[in-house]
Every structure is written in structure tokens, then in C-alpha cells.
């Protein structure tokens, strides 16, 4: 360790100053703002903002649009996250097999959607979902499925976005699982095989439990990411049809930066933060318990 003096503080100072100006102060301000009626008039003159107590929060909880957005966000999360992780796990286990050739090329192929710009691939998929000329309806026609207007149908719009999100994100989780699989000693599988365990049993009794810490990590990362759903509905549906893909963050963006209802939007942001915090804690608790069992 080097001698103290003021040197380490000088080295940390730039980070600390930026973090204070662009994170600490804004978060505190946003918290205060969520108790005011900060709107477009306050934007012109800060003095127009008045303290309104818990009104934003009570309005929020009695706003059907808020509950709709909550429902949609959780729908996306509860269906999308397990699906993404499941597809990633299958892909990782298959890719990890010693029988597979050209592994690096395949891995890169699966990973490409992760790197691609979200807005751009959302645009591409909007055309893939096109009811008349889209690739999806064409592909499904071979299976005898009649064409659908995926993104304009309130029932199908969210499943379509989920399908897209799985395509976009499973490669990331797959990479993490692949790294986790490397840490499982081959001896375990060999011993199990000698004891007469089939591939199915080996998967459930060795692979899945041994990957538990990795699964916890990807679950938390996916959870936090999926709760912040924004660009996909912004590009593909605009939150519609009839608000069936309106997410919490999209609602916050609209209220805050389109209608300038910033007090209201701030309360939405804090509800989002609280949801993320609570779910992460629950997730860690559940996984922690199953590990000790």
C-alpha cells in the first residue's frame, strides 16, 4: 500500500464529483420532486412547483393506466425472463457438448443479437412481424398457421415483443452459462454415468444444481433489465394497441418528457426502483434458501 496523504482522494475526486452532480443530487431531487406538482409551468419557473404531499402516489395508485403498465411489465418479466434463461441454458448445454464442432462460430452466431443495436433490431423485427409481407407469417404458413397482425393485436403484441426479447437476449445468458459449465468437474458426470445415471438425470441432478450460483446471477441481471422495458415497445408498438404493451418506463418517459408531468413521473420512477429492489431481494433470499437445503 502506498503512503496516504491526500493523493487517493485526488484520484477519486473526479468520480466523486460527477457522481454527486449527476447521481446523488438528482436522485434526492427526484425524491423531493415526487411530492410536488412539478409540471410544464414549473419548467419555466421553478417557483411554480408546489408541495402536494403524497398526491402523486395516490393518483398513481388510482390510475388504471399505471396498473395496466405494471401488469404489462410483469407479464413481460414473468413470461420473458424464464423463457430467456431456459433457452439460454439449453443452448449452452448443447454447445458445451464435446460432440459439437465449430463451437466458436456457433457461439458468435448466437451472440450476435446481443451486440446489435436494440433500436435497429426492433425496427427490423417490426417488418418481420408485418401482417402482409413479414417473414414470420410466411414461415408459419408452412406449418398451416394463418397470418396474423402480430403487433396490432392486443392479445399478440406482448407475446411478439417477448419472442423478440428472447431472441435478442438469450445469447448473453448463454455465454454466462457456458462459463459456469466449464467450472463443473468432468469427474462428476463420469461417476454418475458409472452409477447408471442417464443424460436426463445427469442434467437435473448435476448440471442444474451446480449452475445454481450462475442462475442466481443471470436471474437478477435479467430481472433488472426486463423491468426497464422501453425501446422495444417504443419502436415496435408505441405502447399500443390499446396500451397492451405500455411499460412502466415508457409511461414514465411519456409523463415526464412528453407531457412534462415531472412530479408524477418522478413518483413512477421511485415505484420502479422499489419494485426492482424488492424483487432482487426476494430472488436472492429464495435462491439462498434453496442452496442451503
Amino acid at each position: 500500500m502506498l503512503s496516504p496523504a491526500g493523493t487517493p482522494y485526488i484520484f477519486i475526486a473526479p468520480s466523486l464529483v460527477l457522481l454527486t452532480i449527476f447521481f446523488v443530487i438528482p436522485v434526492v431531487t427526484a425524491f423531493l420532486m415526487s411530492f410536488t406538482d412539478f409540471d410544464i409551468y414549473s419548467l419555466a419557473n421553478l417557483h411554480f412547483a408546489r408541495f402536494v404531499g403524497l398526491r402523486n402516489y395516490t393518483n398513481l395508485f388510482s390510475d388504471p393506466l399505471f396498473w395496466k403498465a405494471m401488469f404489462n411489465t410483469f407479464y413481460f418479466l414473468i413470461v420473458g425472463a424464464p423463457l430467456t434463461i431456459f433457452v439460454a441454458l439449453i443452448a449452452a448445454v448443447m454447445l458445451n457438448s464435446k460432440l459439437v464442432k465449430f463451437k466458436p462460430v456457433l457461439r458468435t452466431g448466437y451472440f450476435a443479437p446481443v451486440v446489435a443495436t436494440l433500436v435497429a433490431v426492433s425496427v427490423v423485427w417490426k417488418y418481420i412481424y408485418d401482417p402482409h409481407f413479414g417473414l414470420l407469417n410466411y414461415a408459419l404458413s408452412f406449418l398451416g398457421v394463418s397470418p396474423r397482425d402480430w403487433l396490432s393485436d392486443p392479445f399478440w403484441a406482448m407475446p411478439a415483443i417477448i419472442f423478440f426479447a428472447v431472441w435478442k437476449n438469450f445469447g448473453y445468458t448463454m455465454m454466462i452459462f457456458l462459463a459456469g459449465l466449464q467450472t463443473i468437474p468432468d469427474g462428476l458426470y463420469e461417476a454418475a454415468e458409472i452409477d447408471g445415471a442417464g443424460p436426463w438425470q445427469r442434467f437435473w441432478k448435476i448440471t442444474v444444481p451446480m449452475l445454481a450460483p450462475t442462475t442466481l446471477f443471470v436471474t437478477v441481471v435479467t430481472l433488472i433489465g426486463y423491468l426497464q422495458l422501453f425501446a422495444e415497445p417504443y419502436i415496435m408498438t408505441g405502447g399500443g394497441p390499446v396500451d397492451s404493451t405500455l411499460s412502466i418506463v415508457l409511461l414514465m418517459y411519456r409523463q415526464g418528457f412528453r407531457y412534462w408531468q415531472m412530479g408524477y413521473a418522478a413518483s413512477l420512477a421511485f415505484v420502479l426502483a422499489a419494485v426492482i429492489f424488492i424483487l432482487t431481494m426476494i430472488e436472492m433470499r429464495i435462491q439462498g434458501e434453496t442452496k442451503t437445503v
Binding site: 438528482p26 459439437v100 465449430f102 446489435a116 433500436v119 435497429a120 417488418y127 415531472m262
Partner: protein, 269 residues
């Protein structure tokens, strides 16, 4: 035999995963309206650069491209500098509030970025920094993850090197600049790609800060183009190619560092 079947199956799946990209590329070379056909066309009747010429000549995509490039480069440089400096301090100095400060930095990761966005917007407006590169970059420059990553990496660099440099009369900043940074090169490369990719692909923050069309980044420009040119499938595909291609090339070139960083991040948990 089993090996061929499994590899074949996985290759087929890879092809399905990549079809959206392939279709995007071929469609971008079609003439306007050609993709309105059923069954869908995968190959242009004649290759034309017409869509790209519209993008660059009429729709200022070169300017948007430059904005994206400038923002991502500037962000990468600033972020690497500031976070590695802090990581160095946490790795190699003992000082009173070290543990408390480090934990505080990490604690910021719990709160999602959207929470601070409204006030940050107001602060930047007050400072006249809306529609500037600095306004886009500064709020996201400090990254707890990067500081953590640098600290871990630099902790493994022997302190003896630093001690002998000090005896030779080297200043602390020079130790950082001329000894630590060169040795931390792998960490710099990994975090450099993360940061560049993240900034290039980011949408929500640039959408808020860059609301003047001369300052659009590619994703914002593309989103706005979607509003005006949604029926021009071929044009939209060309815009998507221009947005995705540079980042894909960068990723393919530096894939190893990227993936190793990704995995290191998960194993630390």
C-alpha cells in the same frame, strides 16, 4: 455421426437466429417497394445503393453516424480515465474512508438510472448542456462496475513495482499513467469495448438529451425515421445496417476481450 447431426442442428438454429440480419442486409440493397411481395423476397433483383444514397445525401445519416462515433469515443476515453484512476486509488492506497467510499460507489448500482433522469435533464438544461456531447456523456461516465473491475485488476499488479518507482522519485500520477495503465491494458480493452458498445447502442438517454436533429445519434435518428418513413421498408433496413454494422465489426475484432469481461463480471458475484 452423432457429432455431425448435433453440429448440423445447432448450425441450423444459428442460421435461424441470424436470418433477421441477413434479410436486413439483402433488403437494404433492393429498390424502393421491392420488398412488398408475397412470398417475401430474400434477394434483390438488382443490387442498388439507392437507399444508402438517400440516407446519406438527403437524411443526414453521415452526421448522425459522426455524432454516434464522437459520443461513444469521447465516453470511452473519459470513462476509462476517470474510473481507472478511482480503481487505482481503491486498489493501491490505504486511507481512512476507503471501505466506506468503495461500498458507497457499489451501492449506486442498486438504483436504476431512470430515477435520476428527470433532475439530470433539468440540471443540464440549466447548464446549457442539452444537445451537447458532454450532456450525453457526463451523467453516465462514472461506472461503479468499471471502478470495481479496475480495482480487482490492479490489485493483482505487484505493489513492489510501485514502491521501486517511488524510490526513483516518480510522482503518484506518473506511477498511474506510466506503470499501472500499461499493465492494466487488458482491463482497459475490455471495459473500453463495453463502454463503446453501450454508448453506441443506448437509446433512452440520447432520446431525451439530443432533441435537436443536428445532434441525433444513430438510434435516435432511426427511431425518428421510423415515424416518417415507416412504409419505406428498404430504406429502414439500410438505416438499420448503418447503425448495426460498425458495432458488429468492432465486436468481431475484439470478441475475446469482450467475452472474457462478460464472464469475469458474472463470476465475481
Amino acid at each position: 455421426m452423432k457429432s455431425v447431426a448435433l453440429t448440423g442442428a445447432l448450425a441450423l438454429i444459428a442460421l435461424l437466429v441470424l436470418i433477421p440480419f441477413l434479410w436486413m442486409i439483402t433488403t437494404s440493397f433492393m429498390k424502393s417497394g421491392e420488398s412488398f411481395s408475397y412470398p417475401p423476397k430474400f434477394w434483390p433483383s438488382t443490387f442498388t445503393l439507392h437507399q444508402y444514397s438517400i440516407l446519406f445525401k438527403r437524411l443526414h445519416f453521415l452526421r448522425d453516424f459522426f455524432n454516434s462515433l464522437a459520443a461513444a469515443s469521447l465516453m470511452t476515453i473519459c470513462s476509462l480515465f476517470i474510473n481507472s484512476l478511482a480503481g487505482f486509488a481503491f486498489a493501491k492506497y490505504s486511507f481512512k474512508s476507503r471501505k466506506f467510499m468503495f461500498t458507497s460507489f457499489l451501492a449506486t448500482m442498486v438504483i436504476p438510472a431512470q430515477v435520476g433522469m428527470l433532475p439530470v435533464f433539468l440540471i443540464l438544461r440549466q447548464l446549457g448542456m442539452l444537445n451537447t456531447y458532454w450532456g450525453l456523456i457526463l451523467p453516465g461516465t462514472v461506472s461503479a462496475f468499471s471502478i470495481f473491475f479496475f480495482r480487482q485488476y490492479m490489485s493483482s499488479i505487484p505493489t513492489d513495482l510501485i514502491d521501486s518507482a517511488r524510490i526513483d522519485g516518480c510522482s503518484d500520477f506518473r506511477i498511474y499513467w506510466q506503470i499501472m495503465l500499461p499493465l492494466a491494458r487488458p482491463a482497459l480493452v475490455t471495459l473500453g469495448i463495453f463502454t463503446f458498445l453501450g454508448t453506441w447502442n443506448d437509446f433512452m438517454w440520447p432520446l431525451i438529451v439530443m432533441n435537436r436533429d443536428t445532434m441525433y445519434t444513430l438510434p435516435v435518428a432511426l427511431a425518428n425515421l421510423m415515424g416518417e418513413h415507416a412504409p419505406d421498408t428498404e430504406l429502414m433496413m439500410a438505416g438499420s445496417v448503418v447503425t448495426i454494422l460498425p458495432i458488429m465489426i468492432l465486436f468481431l475484432a475484439l470478441q475475446k476481450s469482450y467475452v472474457s469481461g462478460l464472464v469475469a463480471g458474472s463470476l465475481k458475484e
